[in-house]
Amino acid sequence: MLIWLADLLREELGGPGFLRLVHYLTFRAVMAALTTFLVSLLIGRRVILFLHRKRIRDVVEDYGVIDVSNKRGTPTMGGLMMILAILGGYLLWLTPDSPFAWAAVSALLWFGGVGMLDDWGKLKGGSGKHGLSQLSKLGLQGAYGAAFGVWLISAASPLPEDLRSQLMLPFVKGPVLDLGWLAVPWVVMVFLSVSNSMNFADGMDGLAVVPASISFMVYAIFAYVLGNEVLSGYLQFTYVPGMGELAVLSGAVIGAGLGFLWYNFFPAQVFMGDTGSMALGGLLSAVMLMLRQEVLFLIVGGVFVLEGASVLIQEKIGIGILGRRIFYRAPIHHAFEHRGVAETKVVIRFWIIALILGFLGLLSLKVR
């Protein structure tokens, strides 16, 4: 919105020249981050008190870990705070006619909504078993994924034609495979796996939000490169005009994430709940799909891959087929806790791993 305002002021009314700054991606990205961070801080306490007053408080799911009792009653659905901050901050700094921007916002709202339904069910039912059923959750996520996939490969897609249904691998120059219409199920799968892994990762204070912010940071750099004619030429990426918008969005998410972390790190004053984890997961999937860098997530989001895979293996193969545990506990952070590593230590180690993996991901910018 500010971009319009600045143009209006400068062109019609002869406003000061520094208003040109809003056209610079880096400026808008940093400003978006600062705005969302400030908004988070400002609304944080109010949201927490509101959630507490409305009795929106965590009902602990027992994974058989050492102690979860002192987490009970913490206000949850704090994802609301992030969603509000992202909306508030990002709507100020986005380019209003960019399809990338609105696609991302729609993912944020849809997945946030699904998470909210899930949280609400759990609260009403009084336990983790009463949320949305696994099937309806996957159905709602998959429905959005399918629509997104169709949009991405259709004529309405903002991507250039030679990029729409191509599969890109990190460390490989150019597309490796044209998926054709199979891109739609592929997109659905990406949405499902990323948003649910994010959900599993959200099991300790600050465990999901920091690695997610790091992933967004990496993708912000990719978006900046892809949306910049010179840089994309130099690094031999296909230049996609307007893609830089996603860097602004990522900036907004990082700001909101840090603002949320302000309240969420150990001992947490608020949990993001499924509202937050689904919203982040959906948004992240949308961003990396538009960048055509979803496979890179296996590296950049290694922490989430680990969390998702551990649950899948433990639940489906271990308990479902073999009738035994394969890991001490799943999701994997609980396995470490079970071994006697304190929560704070697990969380910060996971941050370190996420950061290292983020660096590895950045390596794929040039090493191709």
């Binding site: 009653g73 193969i317 087929i321 009738g323 035994r324 545990r325 071994r339 006697g340």
Partner: protein, 660 residues
């Protein structure tokens, strides 16, 4: 002329009560009836038979129905399609016949008609009352669903009310067939059956098909019973299927008795066996004690006649309804109950009665006249044979569009709904059970679960056995532990070698710790130390410690290996095991090497083990002093204290803090 529709069926047990009510209603000609059931099932056969012989003028119409296959079944779409089709067809029958009242007696065949009637009523196309009769103490699935749309659910046993939440219920009893209520004179009956009225008579039967488990136990104890001068009247049953041929087995057993019992020639005249009794009232009339299965109809007839009975419900039926019926009768003081248990027969396990327990129960009753009379009194006061008329009256009242005023539903006993619960749910309910009868029932279910084909059931059964400390379960637990069967293809491809999966093997080891140590359990736990699944090994180590089992050479060898090479859970468990089973003086060898173990929880367990010995006075602290500084005390684990939460706990307690 008033019109009534009867429905119900799938099996004969749901048809006969409807027919009994039909007899009562249609007798005086003021009612016109129609029966809606499923084509090709018991109800069609029975109805056609009655109509051809002219006994009952009740035309038969069909509406398709199939039993509920389960929510996850692939046949679910077929079920839904059939239900919709059935409701449509039943609606047509109902609209054509325009009944004032629908009487349903349960079974899946009743579903289309009841739901069609409810639908038409809602659409104001038909005005009719809906009356349901539930035969069993543990209500069937169909009646639990249909009960919500019915005006009234009439019950045989008051306990059913607990299974039918949200339904209007009223206990009326079981509508027995007309002419069965009259009990013939004992002397008369004995003469007709060729029995001596001066001697006690025991009547044993397992329904028209016979009950294999009861028969087997009876053949075993026949000589003992007959030697006491008791005449045994035995309905062996007419089953001749491939699974079991009652007549052949009877002949074989008689041959065995003849060969093996020296005084059989003197005893044989007291034993009267027949495949089937045409007039079962005669046998009831002659008997001093009846021993039989616990189907709702059979026991209701029996009890309404005031016969003392020993009921042996069949194990593993849907909703465990026979046991529910028998427990209801027991609760009313009208019958005694002998529960089946899984018995090892050759290679398989089969539900059955242990002969010595049957003998004990029978003799206790046969030799105690007062107890039998007490049961008779209880039966006569609690069970009345007028259910037919009462149901008829209820139907008449509903037919004129009013709801009958009824006395309150009455108190449902706390244990009345246990039969409906799964084993896992029983496990959760266990701490709240106080009645010893209920606990005995849970024990029975525990044994049954241990033989279930579903691993989830077996697993829950094992946990239950441990929680109950049920010693009778020990042979079955050992059997499970030593089962060498192979698993299904999918687990086998993934490297699992045992049919009894990891959770089962682990929980077996946990449960054994709750039972007294025997040579068997020590052997099982020792073998579990070699289990491929780590949690099973850990629980085996722990249980050996809890039971203070003798540390044999093999066990010590395994433990020493776990301590050094095992995962952290094993090393931890070994420290606890050492504290319970090894001489305190061996601490240098066993505990000291754990002082710098990589895992802080193992180091903690090691120190706790030493602490136990020191405070038990077995190890002087002074001995340790020099070595204590070798413990690595930096820890990756800590437990935060929240003074705010503590303050709330101090003020209002744990529960209140959790909700704040």
């Amino acid at each position: 002329m008033k019109r009534v529709v009867f429905t119900g069926g799938g099996t004969g047990g749901h048809v006969y009560p409807a027919l009994a009510v039909a007899q009562a209603l249609l007798a005086d000609g003021s009612w016109k009836g129609l029966y809606i059931g499923t084509r090709g099932r018991a109800e069609e056969r029975i109805l056609r038979g009655l109509q051809e012989s002219g006994q009952l003028d009740l035309p038969f119409q069909s509406a398709p129905a199939v039993g509920f296959p389960g929510l996850r079944s692939p046949r679910l779409p077929l079920f839904i399609a059939k239900l919709i089709l059935g409701v449509a067809q039943a609606s047509l029958h109902l609209l054509r016949f325009r009944p004032q009242v629908v009487v349903a007696t349960g079974g899946y065949a009743a579903a289309p008609t009841v739901f069609a009637a409810a639908l038409l009523r809602k659409l104001r196309l038909l005005r009719c009352g809906i009356l349901i009769h539930e035969q069993n103490a543990s209500a069937g699935l169909m009646n639990r669903m249909a009960g919500r749309v019915a005006d009234l659910v009439a019950l045989t046993f008051p306990e059913s009310a607990g299974h039918l939440p949200g339904c209007r219920t009223h206990t009326v009893g079981y509508p027995v067939r007309a002419g069965l209520e009259q009990l013939p004179d004992r002397v008369e009956a004995c003469r007709e059956l060729g029995l001596d009225p001066a001697r006690p008579v025991l009547f044993v039967f397992g329904g028209s098909q016979g009950a294999r488990a009861i028969n087997r136990a009876l053949y075993h104890i026949l000589p003992q019973l007959l030697r006491k001068g008791i005449q045994v009247l035995h309905g062996t049953g007419m089953s001749a299927g491939t699974a079991w041929d009652a007549t052949a087995e009877h002949a074989e057993q008689l041959g065995r008795l003849f060969r093996e019992v020296p005084d059989w020639a003197e005893l044989a005249p007291l034993y009267h066996a027949r495949p089937y009794f045409d007039r079962i009232q005669l046998a009831y009339g002659a008997a001093d004690l009846v021993c039989c299965r616990a189907g709702a109809g059979a026991i209701f007839e029996l009890l309404a006649m005031g016969r003392p009975a020993l009921l042996i419900p069949k194990m593993g039926l849907p909703g465990d309804h026979q046991t529910a019926n028998a427990r209801s009768a027991e609760r009313a003081g009208a019958a005694e109950l002998l529960l089946e248990e899984p018995l090892v027969e050759g290679h398989g396990i089969e539900a059955g009665v242990r002969p010595e327990r049957l003998l004990e129960a029978l003799l206790a009753l046969l030799e105690d006249k007062e107890r039998r009379e007490g049961l008779s009194r209880g039966a006569r006061s609690g069970f009345h044979a007028d259910a037919r008329e009462r149901l008829g009256r209820l139907a008449s009242v509903l037919a004129i569009g009013t709801l009958p005023t009824l006395d309150g539903a009455g108190q449902v006993p706390a244990g009345a709904t246990l039969e409906r619960l799964g084993t896992e749910q029983l496990l959760q309910r266990l701490p709240r059970l106080t009645d010893p009868h209920d606990v005995r029932y849970v024990e029975y279910r525990c044994l049954a679960a241990l033989c279930s084909p579903s691993w989830l059931e077996r697993n829950a059964g094992i946990k239950l056995a441990g929680r109950l400390g049920l010693q009778d379960a020990l042979p079955l637990l050992v059997r499970l532990a030593e089962d060498k069967g192979r698993p299904g293809l999918l687990p086998r491809l993934m490297g699992e070698r045992h049919r009894q999966n990891g959770f089962i093997r682990r929980n077996l080891c946990t449960a054994l710790a709750e039972l007294p140590l025997t040579a068997d359990s020590a052997r099982v736990l020792g073998a579990a130390l070699k289990d491929p699944y780590w949690e099973a090994r850990v629980e085996a180590i722990r249980s050996l410690g809890v039971l203070k089992a003798e540390a044999t050479e093999a066990v010590v060898r395994h433990m020493a290996r776990f301590r050094l090479k095992g995962n952290f859970e094993e090393a931890q468990a070994v420290a606890w095991w050492w504290a319970a089973c090894m001489p305190a003086a061996s601490w240098r060898e066993w505990i000291l090497p754990l002082a710098r173990h990589a895992n802080c929880r193992v180091r903690e367990a090691a120190i706790r083990a030493l602490d136990l010995r020191v405070h038990g006075g077995e190890l002087p602290l002074a001995d340790l002093k020099g070595e204590l500084d070798s413990f690595l005390l930096t820890s990756t684990h800590f437990r935060p204290r929240f003074p705010l939460k503590q303050a709330m706990r101090d003020l209002a307690g744990q529960k209140a803090e959790e909700t704040c």
